[in-house]
């Protein structure tokens, strides 16, 4: 097993050396108490973010959005429209920043790359038999290489939840490592699909597995399974990147995806990022929102802060 780990990771490199040591390591991670975790998340959700600090948060949240369309009915036209929105979320107001990335299926990567040429906005593609991940490794790797060849500079892969839940951690790790290699220079986001992992202990184990496998980001969900992202699951994942950075010195990111629709929710997530991982993670390179409708609510709130008036939903574009 070759691993994408910093040279001084020491113990971590050793624990991934065999299936047995990997299992021992993952099961040796401190447990997560559900009641305590959910209480902490609920308490942080009561933070009241007002005025300048709210404007700052809304601005940052827009910069952190991976504007996403992952529908069977997607067309090149819709993707181009989405890209236009990604560059200038509000064409009337140049102060509104661009989003971080546009996230599409592999066959639409080329369209997005063309539309975003020269903007600095990343093109992310889901890959590895998204969303179920139920395919052979060869197909998953080909899927990944296709997306990278088409110009995607970020790949959102899914882990094999079947293997993970059966305790075949080595297999999950090997796939992540192989996909990371197939990514080349593209950044890899590893989707844990926490809605299928069922327990917070599993979320913590899967997070460490993905980080050990070289994932640049760990991501909550595909958006295709309910529940998608929740505050407590994101909290556990933020703890994982925080602790991983403390051990290895290597800072990885977290992406919360699915079900985050309002600016209020987004700010709650940013409070978690701030108070759990720390201010170092308050940057689009280290935290992202995977969302489609969220951007519109952020825009509406952004303008409320700027002008003191609420827009109606009709004033923001649907795509």
């Amino acid at each position: 097993m070759s691993l994408v780990l910093p040279a001084d990771a020491g113990d971590l490199a050793e624990v991934t050396a065999s299936e047995t040591s990997l299992k021992r390591f993952l099961h040796g991670l401190p447990g997560v108490d559900q009641v305590g975790l959910e209480k902490r998340a609920a308490t942080l959700a009561t933070r009241s973010i007002k005025k300048d600090s709210k404007r700052w948060a809304l601005d940052l949240a827009i910069r952190m959005v991976d504007l996403t369309t992952l529908e069977g009915a997607d067309t090149p036209g819709k993707v181009r429209s989405l890209c236009a929105k990604a560059r200038r979320p509000d064409p009337r107001d140049p102060d509104v920043p661009s989003v971080a990335a546009v996230c599409v299926y592999p066959d639409l990567v080329a369209t997005a790359v063309e539309a975003l040429q020269g903007t600095g906005i990343h093109v992310a593609s889901v890959a590895t038999a998204f969303p179920s991940g139920r395919s052979s490794l060869d197909i998953k790797l080909t899927d990944t290489r296709d997306a990278v060849a088409a110009g995607a500079d970020e790949i959102d892969m899914v882990i094999d939840r079947g293997a993970f839940l059966s305790g075949r951690y080595g297999q999950v790790l090997e796939e992540i490592v192989a996909v990371k290699e197939a990514c080349g220079d593209a950044h890899l986001k590893v989707i844990l699909e926490t809605g299928e992992l069922a327990t917070y202990d599993n979320v913590r184990r899967a997070s460490w597995l993905a980080l050990a496998g070289g994932g640049d980001f760990i991501k909550t969900s595909t958006g295709k399974v309910s529940p998608a992202s929740t505050l407590p699951t994101t909290l556990v994942m933020l703890e994982a990147v925080r602790d991983f950075a403390a051990i290895t010195g290597d800072i990885r990111g977290v992406k919360s995806a699915g079900g985050i629709r309002t600016a209020k929710d987004a700010i709650r997530y940013l409070v978690l990022v701030h108070e759990i991982a720390g201010a170092d993670w308050l940057h689009p390179d280290r935290y992202r929102f995977g969302a489609s409708s969220l951007l519109n609510d952020l825009l509406m709130q952004w303008h409320k802060q700027a002008t003191g008036h609420y827009w109606t939903a009709d004033r923001v574009t649907m795509d």
Binding site: K39, I49, E239
Partner: protein, 499 residues
Amino acid sequence: MMTDTTTTPVPDLVTPSWDYAPAPEARGIATIREHYGLFIGGEFVDPASDASFATISPSTEEHLAEVALADATDVDRAVAAARKAAKGWQKLSGAQRGKYLYRLARLLQERAREFAVLESIDNGKPIRETRDGDVPTAAAFLFYHAGWADKLDHAGLGPDPRPLGVAGQVIPWNFPLLMLSWKIAPALATGNTVVIKPAETTPLTALLFAELCQQADLPPGVVNIVTGAGETGAAIVAHDDVDKVAFTGSTAVGKAIQRELAGTRKRLTLELGGKAANIVYDDAPIDQAVEGIVDGIFFNQGHVCCAGSRLLVQESIHDEVVDRLKARLQTLRLGDPLDKNTDIGAINSAQQLERITTLTDTGEAEGAERWSPDCELPDQGFWFRPTVFTNVAQAARIATEEIFGPVLSVLTFRTPDEAVAKANNTAYGLSAGIWTDKGSRILWTADRLKAGVVWANTFNRFDPTSPFGGYKESGFGREGGRHGLAAYLAASDDVEVSR
């Protein structure tokens, strides 16, 4: 107009700072009068001596109101009013008494924000705690006991248990409204009438509760609220016509009360100090345990009798837990109690601040290592940084005496037996905490701890269905649950209690 399609780039990666803007709760919702009288016989009356004392805001030292100082004459009036009301109150059916308690509970919920703001102003504790903790829990105690009022045959004292009569109650300043609810709700549900004295530094929510009693049409004299300091409390305790005394406060005062009542017919329950052990085993859910340690000792500035002031951590994880705890404490937000984002408010009084300061100085003198997060303290008011002592000896004063402030002493253990021995090695026995992922270890440890309340994988949680009270010098008697009713009832064949 052509729309501009250039892109706004993402800024370079620099460590940003995100200072939350002040988010103060509107203080106008709480009306503070200039003067407060005593609440006796259903109305506010002037004290016999016309004496008064000031209550101030501990976070700003701002003068809030002048409050009547009750002397023995006033206490006598209040007890007489309670005695007069007792007959009619006892004659009501349980369901009728329950109706009044439900009404008080609902009114308290309706005016929750007002009570929360007033409590934060007068006590100094953060609005997050008064809004999400003190006030809803106070209402929950009223609701719970309202439900008991017509079911007292099932209180465990046989059929038709009798109320004791007039209850004299003295409560502390750390949870002014919540302690009032803990005292009044069971007393009223069981058919007693009360004379209650709130603490001298925090009388305002009790006086607002008096308005609630008027609003609820509670029969005059069922609840009487007299304000004052130690002498007023002593007058209640000493009054001949008081049938039962309930006191929550310091162990020293509790002992004095017990001495005074020895040989009298009066019944007594005491809820006193504590020096609780919070035991963290090496298989604990570490992140939640760190939260539990924070909740245990920094909740309410550590002004909690059941605070987890002694952290007993298994030696093998000591450094990791302390490191994580310190990192966590850096994120605590200390400041304006009315700011919705404040985690740590003001120390309740100059006197308490001095006690905390003296005891922590002793800690250093005794060789313990002191640490506090960097946080600025406001210029006005009474403030103390959250403080952690490591390298604390079991014999140190900071490990044995109740500090009643945001000060944690960290000790270690190697085996479960040692953890239990150290946890029990205290004059107190109010509460304890256990952190482990292993259920059998929770049960094993809880069985051996001499503490009235044992929390497992949580801390400082209060529920009206759960009896609360101490062992040893933490007092006796229980509040809450079925057990709490026994403190206000006698079996129908109890010869000492005459109707």
